[in-house]
Symmetry: C2
């Protein structure tokens, strides 16, 4: 990266602050609610117009659901290529009465733009587009090849992203994938995320008779579906917190030294977290560090357990039927199919009558911190944000990053541009103007830095 | 008992068949629905009239709920005294559309009277009154003292019976208590029941944080309320079916030799029971006999387990809150307070954060089969029904018989007059005319036999 190249770009961005804000507000005024199929194609068309105006070749990638928009600028094999990923669909705005200003009438209050989708994800990928525009305006070109893929169904679980990446692997090929999504740390420090946990959801269904029975007439005689699941679950995770499903953790890769070091540098106010959640203790096992729990280990969470009577008072019923919903968060290099197979084998061994129903799954994703191109992002975030860069080896939640790291085989990074209190998925979603402007600068710095890389 | 005394009484009963049926139909035409407070006092007044017409001294025993009706005939200290117990309240008739004939328009079809309350319990205690009337008609007197207590809130759980028995112990004192309630065996064999299991209901409530969390962001960090209860429950009953709450079974009395012998004589078509319920196995422990499960052992039944997500599909939530409802069926001589204390001590040891909420409880009751006056019932049932008498040491369910055996200190027996398919609490409740007539005969034979006893 060259400061003399980037400084005039940053100046240009600052000079255009009011126009950029106004253009973002124009963009988020258009609803594009994937779950309700509202406004999707008009916003896709609008986006194609934006990409065209940047000189990109533009294409709509149809899916069985909502279309994706793909754009490309530059095709020089001597230059590195970046794939920017984002999504133009937004969450439903309900409950409407909880919004201070209407969700699709963007409003500025106290240095923040309030609108549905302004942070998740329109403001963030729009910052990428303005970064490209600013580099073009100042230098007349981008020093790397840029591809951009904007999905229209991220908020409904990206049901088609894997198939699209598989089918269009050649078109999407790049040296790295960068996603600007989610919030930065509350401190406002620039953040780079290298990985996500995967997830495998399933149900355990027990049925011990045709119908519920009276606990007096059948207590001791009829097997109880709730007890059956309680005893099965007790074989799957011990009270000390260790998951005891045979073979489940065979594929777990330990954190690297670099990841452990980065984890140790992450700020944490544990007292504040626990107070905020009203927790008096951390989950077992007690000896694990906070981030180690989220990054280094799979979890077996019971999402719900329902069987028998749940109303007021007591009812002397013996339930014939019960259902448990679980998710397992996967760490690198666990694979959903192997995880499901391990669960099924365990249940077949311990409670053969219990039915296992596979639900959604997503592989974990991890880009090694040692990956050379990561240095470009570290410098770009540092120069555009100032201060220390927060590097997160893996987050606890799940995103379909595996489609880039595993299907496409390309290092993938999440570089969030949003503020920590962006209120994603909630009423009064917002993006601070500082974060928005910082995002444009970071986008420009990444493209500029990538141009200098290997060149 | 003297056949020459009883034969003309049985003849009188048979001669009055049509009139007795018509009078029962008149009685059940009057609704007396305790849960809905419909018709209670009018039916209590009607009953008082019946008792008066038998020459009884009659009294209303007021309670904080619905009144009880008490009657007494004879006060000769040289004669034995019987207390007959029954209840004049009935279950709500809903769903009305499921009745073939309206619930309070008694109708005879195929040898059965259909009406709400005809079996549970109006037809059964009305048979007792007709037995008294028949003995009076034929012999001009009853050879024992008769007391009768008819409750108005049995169908809402008899909330005041214990207090009434405690308060009126002298008035209610008797040599034995006989309750005609419930069904006989499907074979139609006359049945004597010597005991019931007790019950102690409670909730286990877990809360691990102020609110539910995302299983990705907090999985491995925040304790899961459902897991907390699963692990606690797993310490309370082993997969082999043994209850593992310390001290819980200390007070259990083993069955006597006479009880074991009676249990061994009980007919059982296990295949039919299992097919009817759609069960493929009996509950653990496998080695216990069918009736031993219901009579000789306490049970720990989970009535309901509810926590977290229960809707369609999956939801990656980590529940902060969960509730389990349980009941423990108690066998002689377990006491509810000691049972609750054992549960609380166990939970305090294994999961001190979990709250135990005591709910309803009822002590078990057992009258030893060796009790001398039981011989009167055996003969009476045999002579009035014919065939073998079925003697049940204890039934699996719970009734407040302990108020007679433990508060009043009197041997108590249930001698059911109903048919096995009486449809108690359900639409199309019915009593076969054969069962009704047999009940009158049994009632007369008991009173007649008791007169001869010790005399």
């Amino acid at each position: 990266m060259n400061d003399s190249t980037l400084a005039p770009v940053f100046a240009h961005i600052e000079d255009n602050r009011e126009r950029f804000i106004a253009r973002l507000m124009d963009y988020v005024r258009h609803p594009s609610i994937s779950a309700q199929n509202i406004g999707i194609r008009p916003v896709a068309a609008l986006l194609k117009g934006h990409l065209h105006s940047l000189g990109m070749t533009v294409e709509t990638i149809e899916t069985p659901g909502h279309p994706m928009v793909f754009g490309q600028l530059g095709d020089d094999p001597a230059r590195p290529t970046i794939l920017l990923y984002g999504h133009y669909d937004v969450q439903p705005p309900e409950p409407l009465e909880a919004w201070i200003s209407p969700p699709f009438e963007p409003t500025i209050r106290d240095g923040r733009i309030y609108a549905r989708g302004v942070a998740d994800n329109k403001g963030q990928h729009f910052a990428q587009l303005l970064a490209i525009e600013s580099l073009l305006a100042v230098h007349g070109g981008i020093p790397c090849n840029v591809k951009i893929l904007l999905e229209g169904e991220e908020e409904v679980g990206s049901p088609n992203i894997a198939a699209v990446v598989r089918q269009h692997a050649d078109k999407l090929r790049a040296d790295l994938v960068v996603t600007a999504d989610g919030p930065m740390h509350p401190s406002g420090q620039g953040t780079i995320l290298y990985g996500v946990r995967g997830v495998a959801s399933f149900e355990l269904r027990a049925r011990t008779a045709k119908r519920d029975a009276h606990s007096g007439n059948f207590g001791g005689v009829m097997p109880n579906a709730v007890w059956q699941l309680v005893h099965l679950l007790a074989t799957m995770k011990a009270p000390d917190g260790q998951i005891t499903i045979d073979g489940l953790t065979d594929d777990v890769l330990p954190l690297s030294a670099m990841e452990r070091a980065a984890m140790a540098r992450l700020p944490l106010d544990l007292t504040a977290v626990m107070e905020e959640m009203g927790m008096t203790a951390l989950d077992a096992p007690a000896e694990r560090g906070y981030f180690e729990r989220l990054m280094a280990h799979p979890t077996l969470t019971i999402n719900g357990f329902h069987g028998g009577y749940g109303g007021a008072g007591s009812k002397t019923v013996l339930p014939a039927e019960a259902v448990v919903k679980c998710d397992i968060r996967l760490v690198e290099a666990m694979e959903p199919d192997a995880v499901f197979a391990a669960v099924e084998a365990h249940v077949a061994r311990h409670a053969p009558d219990v039915q296992v129903v596979r639900q959604g799954a997503m592989a974990p994703s991890k880009t090694p911190m040692e990956t050379p191109v990561a240095a470009v992002l570290r410098s770009a975030v540092a120069v555009s944000r100032g201060g220390q860069v927060l590097e997160i080896p893996s987050m606890g939640g799940s995103l379909p990053d595996y489609v880039f790291t595993k299907i496409l085989g390309v290092p993938a990074f999440v570089v969030p541009y949003g503020n920590a209190d962006e209120a994603n998925h909630a009423p009064n979603e917002n993006l601070t103007i500082d974060c928005f402007m910082g995002g444009i600068r970071t986008g420009a710095a990444i493209l500029s830095g990538l141009g200098a890389w290997r060149s």
